[in-house]
Amino acid sequence: MNQNETMIRFSEIKKQYGDFSALKSINLDISRGELFGFLGPNGAGKTTLIRILTGIIKPTSGKVFVGSFDLFAEPDKAKSMLGYVPDRPYLYEKLTPLEYFDFMGGLYNVPAEKIQQKGEEMLKIFSLWDRRHELIESFSHGMKQKVAMSAAILHDPEIFVVDEPTVGLDPRSVKLAKDFFRELANRGKTVFLTTHTLSVAEDLCDRIAIIRNGDIVALGNLEELQKRASMPGNDLEAVFLKITEEEQATINPV
């Protein structure tokens, strides 16, 4: 397994909504086994970039490579390598968790026995096994998030994309999720996550990008970001606020 292999490449990604530029020109490479955090204030463009990566929306221009596949030229091959958990876990409410796993697994061509085995394992990890016969509509936000997370790994994706993974989760589940992401990265999988919980990013991520107004304004590990903000030894929260405020001041000088 080549740890330097680029698993995700964004090349000149732009997204325009009328006159509004949601993403200006994103260039970013993420390697195999990397746990990559994508941070930014509300409306900065994090979710837009994640949706482009998962093929849910199309960019106005630019290219995305997943592994060696061009996402827009070979979407089926590229998407097979991705597992995605959205920020709001909208699921098929009239299905039970096991039926939902069967559905998601089928879309990724996973054999039924493997879906059954993996689904069972994940429900037990997330303490949902006793509720396996209930419809998802009766689940809380956090429980749905756990179901979505479990479904995303059924096909053993090379890249795990998570938008706001800890929202709605109880502290025990946050710990479980964090351990789970770390374990994935240790197994050589790439994890791409966005979060507002800076402590999660600080604890977990190998590299972090900060996006503001559709542009990446800082990129590197915590040390590099501290240097960029001229705040050595400070925590990520202080660094993040400094960088985003500086950028805001550059855009709107008093």
């Binding site: 709001r88 098929y92 409410e93 039926e99 697994g105 089928g106 990724y108 061509n109 209930e134 009766s138």
Partner: protein, 571 residues
């Protein structure tokens, strides 16, 4: 805030729907609607005009019996409209009064419960009635024209209809409030099943007790006077449709004052229901809504064996087909309102089949027998097409919207949108085709056609219509998908549902127009045989045009729907 202000967001949403649409599409839709309405109006007017004169019964008896038959048909039509709206309104009321998301905000606001209730009542009345009214209005106005009504009648009749439509909605709201007081609204599947079976059984017994076939055949009666008497008797005493029927007949015969007087019972009953429903709302609405919030659906065990039996064969298909088809059927069967819809459609199919089976075709004089049987067989396909279109509107059209906000899961998967639409198309086409062909076979068995080719033509028509209707339902359903909608009924009753019905109607007109020349030739050939290259060329041209048009009607909506889905950006 008053009720009308609370309806404001819905009006703004409607305005947005129209303002964001392409003008050309809107004008084409308007033109299509006018063509369809014109075809229904003119076709029915000609039919009623003929029935009204009943020339086969002679110059004296014909107009007397004919006008009574026209009156009876109007009564049946009004009764059908009433029951259709009544049945839809109970489900619409449960959805509008208890299950919409915005109620949480409204109920937690200082707005009065009466205003909230009335605003929901206005919305549910519009939702459950507008399409039924639009499609039945040309037919009802055809009666006015056939009965030679003056211009005043055309202004007063819509007012009558407004009150008439309000009543089943008020009754639906009363029923919903009562049901919600005793049962948890979110666990109503069994209640719906029970109600649906009750209504269907009631309808079958009622239709059987009418013995309408006797009205079409005077030989059942001892003498003419008894026959005329039976035609004059109302189908149901003291019912809203009977009151409206009597008032409308008087109105169409230009006795306006008397008509308004006859309409009074209906007006008073509606006003009373309005008062009752308001009192009930003030007393129980908030309580029953709070109760509905406590209960959560958990109906997975209900009818599981049926679901398993239906989805079992899919295990032999490719995984993507298996899971999409199984998910489609599972969600369909777990929708609490779906059974009432199935029973309603079953009732329509039953009524159609039953009415055909009781037609006294064997008693028709031999001279007319061939023509009437042949014509009915020819029209059987398009009639079944309308039934299939109604079924498609309720079950197939909402299928894309019902993916809901979970559609991201499919969009981010390796299965491409074309494959998803293809699977949906096949999953819905098979049962629709089966239903259409079986219905065609059963109903064709009552006819005695002069040429078996007409039977085959009716099967071809049903197959072509079903193919187009399924493609329209999937394609137009994708173009006008509302992923935030909470009920298939709402989706079916939306702007997109209307577009789908208009397009379905236009295809049927297109099919009939292209088959009119071959049919004309067919009927003509009884009297003298037509030979020659021109006839053959024109006949072949009709067939080729029909197939080409059908292919376009299948391909275009599907392709347009596919483009919409490909460009759709979920929340």
């Amino acid at each position: 805030m008053n009720s009308f202000q609370l309806v404001g967001p819905a009006i703004k949403k409607l305005r947005r729907v129209f303002s964001t649409r392409n003008r050309k599409v809107l004008y084409s839709l308007l033109l299509g609607s006018l063509i369809l309405a014109g075809a229904i109006y003119y076709g029915l007017f000609r039919f009623l005009d003929y029935v009204g004169r009943a020339p086969m019964l002679g110059e004296t008896l014909g107009p007397i019996v004919g006008s009574l038959l026209v009156s009876k048909l109007l009564e049946m039509l009004l009764m059908t409209v009433f029951f259709m709206i009544l049945f839809s309104s109970v489900i619409a009321a449960l959805s509008s009064l208890f299950l919409t998301d915005e109620l949480t905000v409204l109920m937690s606001s200082p707005t009065s419960i009466g205003a909230i209730f009335r605003s929901r009542l206005i919305l549910m009345t519009v939702e459950s009635s507008w399409m039924v009214l639009i499609f039945f209005m040309p037919a009802l106005l055809a009666f006015a024209t056939a009965l030679k009504a003056n211009w005043i009648a055309y202004f007063i009749f819509p007012g009558f209809m407004f009150i008439f439509v309000l009543l089943p909605n008020l009754t639906g709201a009363i029923a919903a409030l009562l049901l919600a007081s005793f049962f948890p609204v979110r666990q109503m599947k069994k209640v719906f099943q029970f109600l649906s079976i009750l209504v269907l059984t009631g309808l079958i017994f009622f239709l059987r007790s009418l013995e309408a076939e006797k009205l079409l055949n005077p030989s059942y009666f001892k003498d003419v006077s008894q026959y005329l008497l039976s035609l004059q008797l109302p189908l149901l005493q003291y019912s809203p449709s009977t009151w409206l029927h009597q008032a409308s007949m008087t109105l169409f015969r230009n006795n306006t004052g008397e008509a308004i007087w006859q309409f009074m019972p209906l007006f008073l009953v509606t006003a009373t229901c309005f008062i009752i429903v308001n009192i009930m709302a003030l007393k129980v609405y908030r309580y029953s809504w709070q109760k509905s919030m406590e209960a959560v659906d958990n109906q997975v065990r209900s009818l599981e064996w049926v679901r398993c039996a239906i989805t079992w064969p899919f295990r032999f298909f490719k995984p993507d087909f298996r899971v999409i088809a199984s998910k489609e059927i599972t969600i369909f069967m777990r929708d609490p309102a779906i059974f009432s819809q199935i029973f309603m459609m079953a009732a329509i199919i039953f009524v159609y089949g039953y009415n055909l089976s009781i037609l006294p075709l064997k008693d028709i004089p031999t001279l007319y027998s061939g023509e009437i049987n042949d014509t009915l067989v020819f029209l059987n396909g398009p009639f079944i097409g309308f039934i299939i279109a109604s079924i498609g509107m309720r079950f197939v059209f909402p299928s894309i919207s019902m993916e809901g906000r979970a559609f991201w899961a499919v969009k981010s998967s390796p299965v491409n949108p074309r494959r998803i639409l293809q699977i949906k198309f096949i999953v819905y086409l098979v049962p629709m085709l089966l239903l259409g062909v079986i219905l065609c076979a059963v109903t064709n068995s009552v006819f005695q056609v002069s040429q078996p080719v007409l039977f085959w033509l009716s099967y071809i028509n049903v197959i072509l219509i079903t193919l187009v209707i399924t493609s329209l339902a999937i394609g137009v359903g994708a173009i006008y998908a509302d992923f935030a909608a909470d009920s298939p009924l709402k989706i079916a009753g939306s702007y997109g549902g209307f577009v789908y019905m208009i397009l379905s109607g236009l295809y049927v007109i297109n099919l009939l127009a292209l088959e009119s020349y071959p049919m004309y030739r067919f009927f003509h050939s009884r009297f003298f045989v037509v030979r020659g290259p021109t006839a053959m060329i024109l006949l072949s041209l009709s067939a080729v045009l029909l197939l080409a048009c059908t292919a376009a009607w299948i391909y275009l909506p599907f392709q347009k729907g596919l483009e919409t889905i490909e460009n759709y950006e979920p929340e």
